[in-house]
């Protein structure tokens, strides 16, 4: 059976997909994953998930975030100054970065 493996490098970080292992059950999958995916990369935690439990939808099937104008959802659309509060400025910065990423995919 195939298990997909997700690694978290340090406490508090996100688990991200790093590969898989073939194993008869979850317990063995955890044993194998420690070696295959945790023996060199900095690792704080691993998750294993049976492959068949993972559903997927990708850009061939879905228009993530829509195809028509959704500018109203983005902080960058509003011409008011965010610099008065550090946390609002940070949010706007993150959104702008995300928008750039989305834009470059087109």
């Amino acid at each position: 059976m195939r298990y997909e493996v997700f690694r978290q490098d340090k406490p508090g970080a996100y688990h991200t997909h790093c590969g898989d292992v073939h194993a008869p059950d979850r317990e063995m999958a955890l044993l194998f994953a420690q070696i295959q995916h945790g023996r060199r990369m900095q690792t704080n935690s691993l998750w294993v998930v049976p492959k068949e439990e993972i559903g997927e939808v990708d850009t061939d099937e879905a228009a993530f975030g829509g195809t028509t104008d959704k500018a109203y959802r983005w902080a960058t659309t509003y011409n008011v100054d965010a610099s008065f509060a550090e946390e609002i400025e940070a949010s706007e910065r993150e959104q702008a970065a995300e928008e750039r990423k989305r834009g470059s995919d087109d």
Binding site: W74, V80, A85, E94, E98
Partner: protein
């Protein structure tokens, strides 16, 4: 893990669902997250009528998107709460419906007119952002992760709120007058957003020690006033004479005369014992009850798949 160990290890994002955490931590974190999640839902409830009341297509889109985001925040926060293993999401939503679930003071008041919307969408959300930014450092990792996404989205909400505020503040004389009236009505409630001073706050010490609260009520209110009083003034809003606040050069910030605020009302609200709020709880509960049949129907069609998956 015992409490002393938790305290010694209470770094940002230190604890995950994998850890065996003491009862006190789990219930404390659940109470905080449940309050936060409930507040997202009740905030959305309060703002929802303004999707319809928006006076332009773009505003309507923005309001719908904002209410949608708030429900999404509720979804994230209930999940972070659920991961503590104390209550399920369903339990927490049921508690919100039956009046046990607590939520932010500001969302117990009625909001009936468009010109009131910046009071929530700019000031209250702005206050919430002050707190939320500090919660990115919560010791409960799922909480901090939820905050990453929520803070990412909030920039839109607050800038949109300010844009509505600006439009009213630069609108007709009548719009300016209505805006000022709304501000005077909401200002004391907004000041109470952060609750009473820390020495009156019962849970604060414990929550700070275990890394669930990373800033005090006073610090947050101070930071809020520093950012938002100049904004209010910029848009020509007059800060009401009472509750008294003054700028203290030595402290480098605003000082609030807390005794000027109606704490009796505040504590009635915190016990869900305040009429407009109760009405809002009940009407939301009725709406939730009305679609109970759908959840039952989904659960019924869920179970064969769940059984087939053989999860434990």
């Amino acid at each position: 893990m015992d409490l002393a160990t938790v305290e010694s290890r209470a770094e940002p994002r230190a604890f995950s669902p994998k850890h065996d955490l003491p009862e006190e931590y789990r219930t404390g974190a659940t109470r905080m997250l449940q309050f936060h999640a409930n507040s997202e839902i009740m905030g959305a409830y309060l703002e929802k009528p303004f999707i319809r009341q928006s006076p332009s297509l773009d505003r309507k889109l923005a309001f719908s998107a904002k209410v949608q985001d708030e429900i999404g925040h509720g979804q994230l926060l209930y999940r972070a709460a659920e991961a503590l293993g104390v209550k399920t999401r369903e339990q927490m939503l049921d508690e919100l419906a039956n009046g046990e679930g607590k939520f932010l003071n500001c969302f117990h008041y009625e909001m009936t007119d468009w010109w009131e919307t910046p009071m929530i969408a700019f000031f209250v959300d702005g206050a919430a952002m002050k707190r939320q930014a500090t919660l990115k450092n919560s010791s409960w990792e799922p909480y901090a992760h939820a905050m990453d996404k929520i803070c990412f989205e909030e920039g839109f909400h607050i800038k949109h709120g300010e844009d509505v505020l600006r439009e009213l503040a630069t609108g007709s004389k009548r719009e300016q007058k209505l805006l000022q009236e709304a501000f005077e009505e909401w200002w004391p409630r907004i000041l109470q957003f952060f609750g009473p001073t820390d020495d009156q706050s019962t849970h604060h010490d414990f929550m700070a020690k275990v890394g669930l609260k990373t800033a005090s009520n006073d610090e947050l209110r101070q930071a809020f006033l520093n950012s938002y009083v100049p904004k209010a003034e910029k848009y020509g809003l007059e800060i009401p004479d009472e509750p008294r606040i003054h700028y203290d050069e030595d402290a480098g910030g605003y000082v609030l005369e807390e005794d000027d605020l109606d704490w009796e009302e505040f504590f009635a609200i915190t016990k869900n014992d305040y009429e407009p709020g109760l009405n809002q709880i009940d009407t939301r509960a009725a709406a939730q009850e009305a679609v109970e049949w759908v959840r039952t129907s989904l659960d019924a069609s869920d179970s064969p798949a769940a059984a087939a998956a053989g999860g434990d």
